[in-house]
């Protein structure tokens, strides 16, 4: 297992290095002056130019430049944003928690609803129930997320007026950010209206979270259903039935743990699409997260913001997908067998 973990760590480092190289090459292709693309300082003084040249080794060959670039980026210097004139790392720290909150709520929602529904769909012998569930999931899988978001906000936000459709919190509440997660911050704040602010935050979260949850939900339902159908035919399930166990117990104790393995694998494969969807959802619902920030960065051609955002999002995807793979191996003894094979 240790050898496996070291190999995964290696993979993480190598992939990150490739990512940095891609970003470095792309940065040099930006249609602006190199110093501006790297630091975001629009009209640097002579002293600043000398500083940039020294920091990024701009006068030597491109390999040395890459090493200097890597050194600067890894020491936390992402330059300053050309539009807000604030350091990109600082802005990133303020938008990342919001995205993280939205994504984790949506993912929890999708798994918590998707797993039971997938199991129910697999156990049902009723043709109509099966077809209905499959039709709903296939539609959910095919729906363009921006259209879904617009339609939901038009119905529930504008026509029915039930839910707010933009931002994380009503402007009336002034909550001091502590963790950056609005649900925790509102509860932790000492103001007398913290409970009503918490409810308001939940109301703001409902529509974006549901919109984002549709894709993972449908994938989880479909994978759970197909694996459960395969597993329920296995002999060890028959053995459990022959021992007279209750169906409830068979499903929960014997079938579901094995059905989870492909679900986890598919979650890892879906990560890229999920992040793309999250960015679009953030734009539609004006959620102050990294996607919204990055898209406004591209509208303003704010090159340091683009680099910082792409770097942060891609690094977190690499990290999460490797974590999911490790989890997949940890709970699945069969995949561990391959580790010690020749390859």
């Amino acid at each position: 297992m240790t050898r496996y973990l070291i190999r995964r760590l290696n993979l993480f480092l190598a992939t990150s290095l490739v990512l940095f190289a891609v970003l470095f090459i792309v940065t040099n292709q930006f249609p602006v002056e190199q110093g501006f693309a790297l630091t975001g300082i629009l009209s640097p003084s002579a002293q600043q130019i000398a500083q940039i040249n020294a920091d990024f080794n701009l006068n030597s060959d491109s390999f040395d430049q890459f090493i200097a670039y890597l050194h600067q980026r890894l020491s936390g210097d992402l330059g300053i944003s050309a539009t807000s004139q604030r350091p990109v790392a600082e802005e990133l720290a303020s938008v990342l928690p919001a995205s993280f909150e939205l994504a984790s709520v949506a993912a929890t929602l999708a798994i918590a609803l998707g797993l039971p529904l997938g199991v129910l769909a697999s156990l049902s012998r009723h043709k109509i129930t099966q077809h209905t569930i499959m039709a709903i999931t296939l539609t959910g899988y095919s729906i363009p997320v921006f259209w879904l978001g617009l339609t939901l906000s038009l119905w529930f936000g504008v026509q029915l007026g039930w839910l707010p459709i933009s931002g994380r919190l009503n402007l009336l509440y002034e909550i001091e950010p502590i963790t950056g997660l609005i649900l925790i911050d509102t509860l932790m704040s000492h103001s007398p209206y913290s409970v009503s602010a918490f409810i308001d935050a939940i109301l703001h979260l409902i529509l974006p979270a549901i919109t984002l949850a549709v894709l993972p939900f449908t994938v989880v339902v479909r994978i759970t259903r197909s694996t459960m159908i395969t597993i329920m035919d296995q002999t060890y399930i028959k053995a459990a039935e022959a021992r007279g166990l209750h169906t409830y117990r068979i499903v929960l104790r014997h079938a579901l743990p094995n059905a989870l393995i492909p679900v986890i694998k598919s979650l890892g494969l879906m990560l890229g699409a999920f992040v793309s969807y999250a960015m679009i959802v953030e734009v539609i619902f004006s959620w102050p997260g990294v996607g919204n920030w990055l898209v406004s960065g591209i509208y303003q051609r704010d090159y340091t913001v683009i680099q910082g955002g792409v770097l942060a999002v891609a690094l977190s995807i690499i990290f999460l997908s490797i974590m999911i793979e490790v989890l997949h191996t940890a709970i699945n003894p069969l995949s561990r067998k391959e580790l010690y094979d020749s390859n």
């Binding site: 992939t15 990512l19 296939l138 539609t139 363009p144 997320v145 990055l294 591209i298 390859n343």
Partner: protein
């Protein structure tokens, strides 16, 4: 005199025929196939049957409701947008932008991904792992981020969407091909062919590939639906097809300004995207269950 049929037996259908029968047994998959064929025809002949040109503005019919509404007329079947452009004609003109470009992207990345994937799949050890892991890094950059990088370098436009979505899709084909070939190579029948003295290319083409095609076909249908959604999403974010273009995602984004007064300017192009992706996913689902060895 009745003929005795014992020795004649039924004709044994070929594999392709068997797959087709399983596929055609599923009415949803067949409906999806018809819809995809219709879409293909529309992508080619759509501009010919459209009643108006994509940019024609009718100043007397601004924000006209669709024809089934009391306020609508049948001249503008699906209504008009805020510049008086006929939505039905724009949908027909946009079919080849959304659907056709998606097909072109998927075909290109399929060919490139297939070649890289088969080379890395047939190789062993370090070289194979470098090739496949190098692409893992690209796989971790989702299409939207890739598009943002491409737009930052080359500026927005539908041609650049081609590159962005293509670069994001290729690693998926590489990975699918690589894994399928890698898995097949470890099976016994490949070893038997090796013992028979088959060389690398023979093993690849005649032994392994017949068992890999179905994975690639399924991956292709998945790729097409993902490409349509990506193109539309980029059009919606104004990073892909630009404003007067009748690309479906761009049409949704042009309709957003009027969503409160004229919701059909958003609903109809969005519904068109939904239907085409749904049709492709139905075909993909049908193919998957027809090709999977359990059913055969």
């Amino acid at each position: 005199m009745t003929q005795i049929k014992i020795y004649q037996g039924g004709e044994i259908p070929s594999l392709t025929r068997k797959i087709w029968h399983t596929f055609a047994d599923n009415p949803f998959a067949l409906a999806g196939l018809w819809a995809v064929v219709a879409l293909l025809l529309l992508a080619v002949f759509g501009p010919l049957i459209a009643p108006y040109s994509a940019e024609y503005q009718d100043p007397r019919a601004l924000l006209l409701a669709p024809s089934w509404d009391a306020a609508g007329t049948v001249e503008h079947f699906l209504g008009t947008d805020d510049l008086g452009r006929d939505i039905f004609s724009r949908l027909l003109h946009g079919a080849h932008l959304t659907f056709g470009v998606a097909l072109a992207i998927v075909l290109t990345s399929l060919v490139i991904g297939f070649i890289i994937g088969s080379i890395s799949g047939m190789m062993k050890g370090l070289k194979a792992s470098i090739l496949s892991h190098l692409l893992d890094a690209l796989l971790s950059i989702p299409s939207l981020l890739m598009a943002i990088l491409v737009v930052a370098v080359m500026g927005p436009g539908l041609d650049n969407v081609f590159w962005a979505v293509g670069i994001a899709l290729t690693p998926q084909f590489v990975r699918a091909t690589h894994q399928a070939i890698h898995e097949e190579l470890q099976k016994e029948y490949v070893k038997a062919a090796k013992l028979d003295g088959a060389n690398m290319i023979q093993i690849f083409w005649y032994v392994v590939m017949p068992n890999v095609w179905d994975t690639i076909i399924i991956q292709t249908t998945l790729g097409i639906s993902a490409a349509i959604l990506d193109i539309a999403a980029l059009g919606f974010l104004n990073l892909g097809a630009q404003a007067p273009s009748p690309e479906w995602g761009a049409m949704v984004s042009q309709g957003v300004d009027n969503i409160l007064t004229a919701p059909w300017t958003v609903t109809i192009p969005g519904g068109a995207i939904l239907c085409s992706v749904l049709a492709i996913n139905l075909v993909g689902d049908g193919l998957r269950s027809a090709l999977s060895p359990i059913n055969n």
